[in-house]
Symmetry: C2
Subunit: 180 residues, 2 copies
DNA sequence: GAAATTACGTCAGCCATGTTGACATATTTA
DNA sequence: TAAATATGTCAACATGGCTGACGTAATTTC
């Protein structure tokens, strides 16, 4: 039986590529499933605070680099200042983030987390750290094999059977080009 | 100089965890950056068609398993039928997807891609396949080391310097608990 | 064969978070 | 002094999630 974790090239000829088409597609799909579950734990916590993913990102990066400028944050998040403004305002109003005028440049509003902000940030990070550590704590394997394993273990255990079923099933389908 | 690709544990004591806190946080952030860039290529193509990520997912999974039921698609995407209905209707109206009455169960509306649908799906998948293959085509390394390498190479080359700078800088900051 | 369940569609409205464009203000730099 | 920079804000719009409600056709169950 096909195994979502193993990386056998039982699909098309690899040509001069390191991975067969089927293997590569499986990794694309694992990227989707893994990311979906990766953000699911923080999402749930955020809901209790009336926040969303955008708030999480701000909390995380400000906590990582206290005193960063608004522009630096914009560069990292790659969103518009209007989008940032909305969530930043909420975080400031609810006292998770505060701003300080820059000393060297008084136009700047340097960003910091309050105690509550740092607490929440840690709370949000916990499940993701656990998930990463569990996923990475794996023996052996070559690059693709290992990457696949890691992504698979990023999926929530409750979803792994469904994901494994899908990947196995899809592998058997062999990338059909038409339907009907 | 710190290296975003190497996985030295120069941070806190790992305790009984396989990864230091800093290493784990770096992987969390790489997950964010990698996924952001991973979906950027298809996003751009989708824009030309007036579609979004939701359309991409439907195209992808229907193309992978032609003849799947609406319910199966919902189970994979884990969204509501109302959300799916919106994008599915557009894909059908614009002739990228069509439905066929189930033979065994005539309540079912089995999903298939049209020729245009399969073409678009392939076009969307191309850049992601390339990105995965480039990222996975790496020598050596243990699990965490390799996973980090892979995720780093999932980031667009144009963004790698910024991501590397961030990760390096953040590593030096050493997870401060307060700001102010 | 009637009743319940299933598969699907749809209408209406709400929310989060992205976008563009325009404009204001304070501060720093040239 | 003029120009550029850092930031904030208002308004409008798009995407894609969500809930709740309702309808229809087909299948399954009692």
């Amino acid at each position: 039986m096909a195994d979502v974790i193993s990386a056998q090239d039982n699909g098309k000829a690899p040509g001069d590529h390191p991975l067969s088409e089927q293997e590569t597609v499986a990794l694309i799909e694992l990227m989707f499933f893994a990311y979906r579950d990766f953000v699911s734990d923080p999402d749930e916590i955020l809901g209790q605070y009336g926040f969303g993913r955008a708030h999480h990102r701000v909390l995380h990066f400000v906590g990582r680099d206290p005193g960063m400028t608004v522009q630096q944050l914009l560069d990292i998040l790659q969103i518009t200042k209007q989008s940032l403004g909305r969530v930043l305002k909420e975080l400031i109003d609810k006292d998770y983030v505060f701003q300080k005028e820059g000393e060297a440049d008084r136009r700047q509003r340097l960003l910091y987390l309050t105690e509550s902000g740092e607490e929440l940030r840690q709370r949000l990070m916990g499940p993701q750290m656990n998930r990463i550590r569990r996923a990475v704590a794996l023996p052996d394997g070559s690059a693709a094999h290992l990457y696949r394993k890691v992504l698979y273990h990023m999926v929530s255990p409750a979803n792994r059977e469904a994901v494994r079923d899908w990947i196995d099933r899809a592998s058997l389908l062999g990338e059909p080009k038409d339907g009907g």
